[in-house]
């Protein structure tokens, strides 16, 4: 057996502890555990819901939710901010105080730096926290090694805006500062990535902004995929009807390198495409903490889990939900994360109490705006069959091809956002 560096350090650490030597660099215990405790990593679409529902289902379980930020900004609807339809990010921002006061979730603002599955302890920037079961919902991080030259500094010049917050604000500022007649370039990574229709909604919202404010400008979409990955015919109709001559969609164009100085991207290391504004959406994988903790599968990208309990197949006692996990055909969406979190919560409670687990029943619905008044949707119901998640046959699907429902869906989408953010924050 070979040991990677982390396991090796852990062994050395354990040995030092056993010999009674001081544990150099080992953080102090932040909150001693008395009874049953679940720790949740991440306060986004998955984590908040898992934390809240575990408390709703069993008040005898202590729930500690650890999140690096003191607030959360929703990616859903952030494209509307970039497109100038939303004035600011306030309607997309939630705080955690009511999860604490309404449900007794203990919210800790800290960075989780390590997970020890054997000792059932997480290390954070503020100290260690031990658990009986751990729920991990860290979202995504980027596979930066696959885009040469795209580092932290490059992100400030060519924002990804694929985690909502300062990056989103930066992209909008750049778009606003662009001259009329300018070109924005956007790159879409190979699937799977967070939110399959997200890049195409963003293209629509950018085009909406350009059409209204800078009609001589263009948006070039370089898509690594062979075609639009979600709601393809609907997006194509929406673009044809509204943004002819503005959106230049180029499939099978994988960006592999950036040249920040020249404000250019390179397709397959060869074809150079220049932009006045460049929105580079890099290839993705599970959030760094999931990778560091050895929760990712053979692909080194995403976390394999039991399809009903969401317990990791890599480490017992750890559940992974949301974008980071592989949940059969469920897309990496906020709604999926919400649905997975509830299934996971019910089964975490069952497992802690030695009860029988319950099969998954899940939903996904994703709205995408095409203009400020038109939206399209994809929806599906999920169940478990023979241990695998399936989309229930003869259900689900996308909006009518003729856009006859788009005005109504633009209204429903707003109430969707209101409800899902209220679920996460109260």
């Amino acid at each position: 057996m070979t040991l990677d560096r982390r396991s090796f350090l852990k062994l050395v650490g354990a040995g030092a502890g056993a010999a009674g030597l001081p544990l150099i660099g080992r953080a102090a215990e932040l909150m001693p555990k008395a009874g049953k405790r679940v720790v949740v990593i991440g306060g986004g679409y998955g984590g908040t819901i898992a934390a809240k529902y575990i408390r709703m289902m069993d008040k005898s379980i202590e729930v500690v939710m650890i999140e690096r930020n003191d607030h959360f900004v929703s990616c859903p609807f952030s494209n509307l901010y970039i497109g100038g339809i939303l004035k600011d990010l306030n309607p997309l921002t939630i705080k955690y105080d009511k999860l604490a006061s309404n449900h007794g979730v203990k919210v800790v603002q800290a960075e989780v730096t390590a997970i020890d599955p054997a000792a059932k302890v997480v290390t954070t920037s503020k100290g260690t926290v031990s658990y009986d079961r751990l729920v991990v919902s860290p979202g995504i991080d980027f596979r930066l090694d696959e885009v040469k030259g795209y580092d932290a500094a490059a992100m400030e010049k060519m924002p990804h805006a694929w985690k909502a917050g300062p990056q989103t604000v930066l992209l909008r500022k750049q778009l606003e500062a662009m001259k009329d007649g300018g070109t924005m370039v956007m790159s879409v990574p190979l699937a799977p990535y967070r939110c399959p229709p997200g890049p195409y909604e963003r293209a629509s919202m950018v085009a909406h902004y350009l059409k209204k404010n800078k009609p001589k400008s263009k948006l070039v979409v370089l898509d690594a995929n062979p075609d639009i990955t979600s709601k393809g015919p609907l997006f194509k109709k929406g673009w044809k009807d509204n943004y002819e001559g503005i959106i230049d969609y180029r499939p099978a164009k994988k960006v592999t390198e950036v040249n920040v100085q020249a404000m250019a991207v390179l397709v397959e290391g060869l074809e150079e495409v220049k932009g006045d504004v460049i929105n580079l959406i890099p290839p993705q994988r599970a959030g760094q903490i999931a990778v560091a903790a050895g929760l990712v599968g053979d692909d080194k990208k995403w976390c394999p889990v039991n399809q009903t309990t969401f317990e990791s197949t890599k480490h017992a006692g750890i559940h992974v939900i949301g974008d980071a996990c592989v949940a059969g055909p469920m897309p990496k969406s906020g709604y999926s994360a919400n649905s997975e979190a509830k299934v996971c919560a019910a089964n975490v409670v069952a497992l802690i109490n030695g009860k029988e687990t319950t099969d998954l029943s899940g939903i996904n619905t994703c709205y995408s705006y095409i203009t400020d008044k038109d939206a399209i949707s994809v929806a599906a119901v999920y169940a478990v069959k023979e241990g695998k998640i399936i989309a229930v046959p003869n259900s689900g699907g996308v909006s009518p091809a003729d856009y006859s429902a788009s005005k109504l869906e633009a209204i429903y989408a707003q109430s969707w956002l209101k409800n899902i953010l209220t679920e996460m924050s109260t």
Binding site: T357, I363, Y412, S415, N419, E423
Partner: protein, 192 residues
């Protein structure tokens, strides 16, 4: 007709035993919690165009879901979703939501319209929308405290013929003015 395997498991309580693990079929709560992403925790909606399901009548939810499923009631997304559930699952969800506490909606309503609606409702709607709309005869939906924008959208569909009105409702609604109907909706939205 063959029942879907999931509906069968729920109806008979037989556990689906797989090689992977043994887990019970989805409970009523498991099925219903998935709806809350759009309809709010326990069906208490915070979004004005999404109806609150908390404390809605069981029969009304069952009827609505079955009509969504068959396409008889027009919808954007609900038809696509309703098709994913067996009748037994629909009944389980309807029962779950009917048992949740009434969710007070926080909305701005017009006092004069509420008063006018109050004077109209008993004689026009009271036989089916019982107790100021807090209850419903048979599969008549509970209207008390429902979101005004949701009810307005439904009324628009009724008036345009997109959604079919029950016969008895049509007899009452047809002679009424738009203003009277609007007043009635304000009234029902105001009932706590």
């Amino acid at each position: 007709m063959m029942m879907k395997w999931r509906g069968w498991a729920l109806a008979t309580g037989v556990l689906a035993i797989s090689a992977m693990a043994q887990a019970a079929p989805p409970s009523a709560a498991m099925l219903s919690n998935a709806c809350a992403g759009c309809h709010g925790t326990n069906g208490g909606s915070a979004g004005p165009s999404m109806p609150t399901l908390a404390s809605q009548s069981k029969e009304a939810i069952e009827a609505a879901m079955k009509k969504f499923k068959s396409g008889e009631r027009p919808s954007t997304i609900m038809g696509r979703l309703a098709k994913g559930y067996s009748d037994a699952e629909i009944t389980a969800m309807a029962e779950f939501f009917s048992k949740q506490k009434l969710h007070p909606t926080n909305q701005t309503l017009d006092k004069a319209k509420i008063a006018k609606g109050a004077s109209l409702q008993e004689s026009n709607c009271g036989r089916c929308h019982i107790e100021d709309g807090k209850e419903g005869k048979d599969d008549t939906p509970v209207m008390a405290s429902q979101w005004l924008p949701y009810m307005q959208m439904q009324m628009t569909d009724y008036l345009s013929g997109k959604r079919k009105m029950p016969e008895k409702m049509k007899e009452k609604v047809d002679p009424m003015s738009k203003e009277d109907l609007e007043a009635l909706l304000h009234f029902y939205a105001s009932v706590k």
